[in-house]
């Protein structure tokens, strides 16, 4: 039945042809996504944060080393006693310096600090979220596909044990052993958040593997691996994206909480550290312009991840 006459296409062209229908679908998914204002809002917020993360210098009025009254480094002079007493300084718009959100106790501009800290939060959020998915999704797929066999049992018992692991003490121990670095924080967060991922994916897989198209792949002779990754995984990925968004949001908050507790890399700029600083330096009730911005920024970033996740859930799982 096979005929030898193929079309005379180059391989590059056929490659694009293969992806055309996917692009078509993506476009449709996009228009569906934008039906939800909340998803668009999430994207907008995240977009702003991403810009801050990538080119903070464009948006921030000063660098993080800028000191009020004295300007950018290299700093020539020192603060007078009166100037020191005026720190942290509420928002000032030109007189005696430009700091729309005021300064902290050291004289650094709050707005600049907030903008420069965005990259830290984004990095941790996305990295922890991705790591969590990279562990949770394959384990969930394998566990679900081999449901009710020893493979599944083994993985699930492991998950059960991991559930018992308390987040904070674990992180403290991890950090005590390996040191307070951002990488360790990411690992610590991912280690506890992959569990939900795994279980949900497992549930989906369990139900999907009964579908006729999976049976048909078996009848065609597909190996187990092929079935899991070529046939089932594409159907499971949409949910995992939602989890990714949620895990990222959770990671952002978790990292900030850790910083607040003093378990963070103090050489980096992060919102959590800003909050820790205001607590440890005792200005919580006095300097609202220092207290609120990092908190609000954290909230907005986490919320934007959630909004995106919400909208994506509707795109992938329409409930009309």
């Amino acid at each position: 039945m096979a005929t030898g006459q193929g079309d005379t296409e180059t391989d590059g062209e056929s490659y694009t042809r293969r992806w055309e229908p996917r692009l078509e679908r993506l476009k449709r998914g996009w228009s569906r996504y934008t039906e939800h204002n909340i998803g668009v809002l999430g994207l907008v917020i995240l977009g702003i944060f991403s810009l801050w993360a990538v080119v903070p210098g464009v948006f921030a009025p000063h660098s993080t080393d800028w000191i009020a009254y004295l300007g950018e480094p290299p700093i020539q002079s020192r603060l007078t006693a009166e100037q020191v007493r005026s720190l942290p300084h509420p928002p000032a718009f030109g007189d005696p310096f430009f700091a729309p959100l005021g300064t902290n106790a050291n004289g650094n501009g709050i707005l600049s600090l907030v903008i420069y800290s965005a990259s830290n939060a984004m990095y941790i959020g996305l990295a922890a979220g991705l790591l969590s998915s990279l562990v949770g999704v394959p384990l969930g797929l394998i566990s679900g596909f081999y449901g009710d066999t020893w493979i599944d049992e083994a993985i699930q018992r492991f998950v059960d044990v991991m559930y018992g692991l308390p987040f904070l003490p674990f992180l403290i121990v991890l950090v005590a052993i390996r040191g307070i670095t951002t990488t360790n924080i990411i690992i610590g967060i991912a280690v506890t958040s992959w569990l939900n991922n795994c279980i949900t994916i497992r549930g989906e897989t369990l139900s999907l593997k009964e579908r006729s198209y999976v049976e048909s792949a078996k009848v065609a002779g597909a190996s187990d691996t092929r079935i899991i990754f070529r046939h089932i995984m594409p159907n499971v990925l949409p949910i995992s994206f939602v989890f990714l968004a949620q895990d990222a949001a959770g990671a952002v908050i978790a990292q900030a909480s850790l910083a607040y507790l003093g378990l963070a890399d103090f050489t980096a700029n992060s919102w959590g550290i800003m909050l820790e600083n205001i607590k440890s330096q005792g200005y919580i009730f006095d300097a609202w312009w220092w207290l609120l911005p990092p908190g609000i920024a954290l909230m907005l970033m986490a919320a934007s991840f959630y909004f995106i996740g919400f909208s994506m859930e509707d795109v992938t799982n329409p409930q009309r």
Partner: protein, 463 residues
Amino acid sequence: MDRSDDREPLVEIDGLQKLFDQSQGIVDTVLGREPQPVRAVDGVSLDIYPGDTVGIAGESGCGKTTLGKLLVKLYEPTEGTIRFDGDDVTDMTREDERKFRKRVQMIFQDPFESLNPRMTVYDTVSEPLKINEMVDGYDERRSRVKQVLEDVGLGPAEVYLDAFPDELSGGERQRVAIARALVVDPDFVVCDEPVSMLDVSIRAGVLNLMQDLQDEYDLTYLFISHDLSLIRYMCDRAGIMYLGNMVEQGPTDDVIDDPKHPYTEALFDAVPDVELGDNRRRANATGEVPSPRNPPSGCQYHPRCAHIIPPEDWDGSQEAFRRAFQFKLKVRRGDLDAGTASGDGDPVESLVEQGLTLDVPEEYRSEREIETGGRRTNASSLDLPGDARTALDEAAEALLDGDPDAAVAALDGVVTTPCASREPRPFLSGTREVACHRYEDENGNTGAIGGSNGGINAAPTED
């Protein structure tokens, strides 16, 4: 039929059995209970010759879908063998299994579920080619896929290649499923209710397509359906399954026009037909299909059978025996007890008359039954032997005394049937094989055909 002359069967099924749920919990084991597996397929033997279209019909739970899946090795049989083209496929090497899978394919029932929603038509149809490394190069594959799509009526194929399943209608999806099955050029295709989820006016097109493709691709079909009119239209031979057993098989026309097994008869009587209208004769069968986990002993159809065989020493009518047997079944099930006796008059008589009723369509009921809305029948007008009548009265009395066990015991001596003690093996009768004791002595045959040794449970249980 001159089939056995020159051709070897393509598929030989011998005593095939598939049990599910054979394990049980600790509590049950400790309590000494036997596991009660679901006997989905319970001793089926069948030969399929090249070029045949063999239909498997039956109601839900009869095991036809399981049989289909066993043939494509989606399930492994618990017992019995399947031979494909002479080779035993129950235990194959990896290499042999690959070859097998290129020759045997399946079409599934649900056009909405049998296509992966994330794969385009091209992806779906080319997948078997990729798995079996049958065609090299993207372009070659694409043109092969286009060829098959045109063959199944989806032309021009370019339009369909990049479509996703949710853009296609049910009929189109099913054609894609057929294309997927045919792209590897198989010899044998198992079709599991391929059109039952399609709109009525689309079905004929898909069925006709399947017939055309049979010639073009040189195919042998196993066509599974609960819709008997479709079996008639598509299949040369048909097998009727009930609770995992093949009760009758033979040429379709013979099976439909002259059914030998009582279940086959009831099944085809029950089908409504435009021509017959309301002159159709209704199905003469009581009750419903029991659970496959706990099938009746002996011939599994006997509790519903209109032609149940009375014991040798029964000198009354067969109908009377049928009613008496139903009486016994009701007592055993607990449907008849002291509370059932109603109305005035002698309670024993009343209980007997109520117990002897048959839950069948009106045309098979007695006058009294019709009058009383199926509640009572006239015991005296039945041709019951004396000892049977006595046994019934005894049983009724025992029931009124609140002792159902004694009631059953009273009936056990007189109201027994070979249908409940021995499971019938398929016997040759005319052009067909029938698993029914009524055909046991025809042609002097008491043995089975085709060397099947599954299906006999010789231990006589209580009937």
